[in-house]
Symmetry: C2
Subunit: 199 residues, 2 copies
């Protein structure tokens, strides 16, 4: 353990990374909008390029909507997506530049200078919404909840059913208190020297 | 403030999100390999699809390497990249599937079943390395350091100079203790209701 080398206290390290796990089963305890607002009001501060903040979130709450979503999940993800207290679709807004003048008030030309072209916006929205998706997962854990992010799904189907051509789905996240047998044994991670090189 | 709705203590919220800022100036205090190891040993636990863990990090330490990197940064990012105590190139390993049998020991067929095709791997590596890049930024902050992530650079040039065709650069991150006038005023964030919809 390298706990002593970090400023973040050990309890927070455990809550966010060391003991937090991708949950595959949840209790029945609801996840409230107030909890989601608290998560968002924390992780909205995570950095993105030009403060573009392209992440958009669809909370799938009604049984009818949940059923429509489950139909687009891969077989192995259906039961848990049907049963989770809350399910969120995380998507990138490819038209994020419309908000950029208010998000970057000191540099109002940025939208025109850097993001006039749709393919450039799509690429930037994908990277930066993915950063925000990770902040979101960390934020769910900060709320004492477990996240179950999934990419095993029909992305085109989810986009057609819940979004539009300007919004690209990145993942679906189950959210709740972990239930019985919520996770598999922790899989190994790469060693530092497999990941980090120095020049 | 929604602090009370979160399990994460207020000091940790501040350290990681509320008071943490993208730094543009740093003190001379070095960032050690021990600090980087502590960051990695925390954030390596952040979830990725199939535990694929595609993030790779190049620490640019020698003056000669730093000079080569600075030449590929956009004009506005050069001075701070030249001066930061440590600079890291974050990249996605498009051949991550080679490690998958050891990363996912309970499902050794995953590499062949899901990642036999390079375009599929590239797409998955980009998304999942971006998640890990966000965990990395959070981890730098957890070490009491400031991160300065940048995408204003010549990506093809950085790839050619420091990586290879199997590794796609995502961003460059300056790392250190914030110095004088390290940041701009905090830019506004989108409101919850601009980001989150419910169905």
């Amino acid at each position: 353990m390298s706990t002593h080398a970090l400023t973040l206290d050990a309890a927070a390290q455990d809550l966010l990374f060391r003991e937090a796990r991708t949950a595959n089963a949840f209790t029945d305890e609801p996840v409230t909008d107030a909890q989601l607002r608290a998560v968002y009001d924390l992780v909205k501060y995570g950095p993105t390029a030009f403060n573009q903040s392209p992440l958009r979130v669809v909370l799938v709450r009604t049984p009818e909507a949940r059923q429509r979503l489950v139909a687009h999940m891969d077989e192995g993800n259906r039961a848990k997506t049907a049963a989770a207290p809350l399910v969120a679709i995380l998507a990138a807004d490819n038209e994020f530049h419309a908000e950029l003048p208010s998000l970057l008030p000191h540099f109002p030309q940025a939208a025109d200078l850097f993001f006039a072209e749709r393919p450039v916006r799509e690429q930037s929205a994908l990277l930066n919404a993915a950063l925000q998706a990770a902040y979101f997962i960390v934020g769910v854990r900060a709320a004492g909840l477990a996240a179950g992010p999934m990419t095993g799904l029909d992305f085109a189907g989810v986009q057609k059913e819940f979004l539009d051509e300007d919004h690209t789905p990145l993942m679906v996240v189950n959210i709740g208190r972990p239930g019985e047998n919520a996770w598999y044994p922790r899989s190994p991670r790469l060693d530092y020297d497999q990941v980090v090189t120095t020049v």
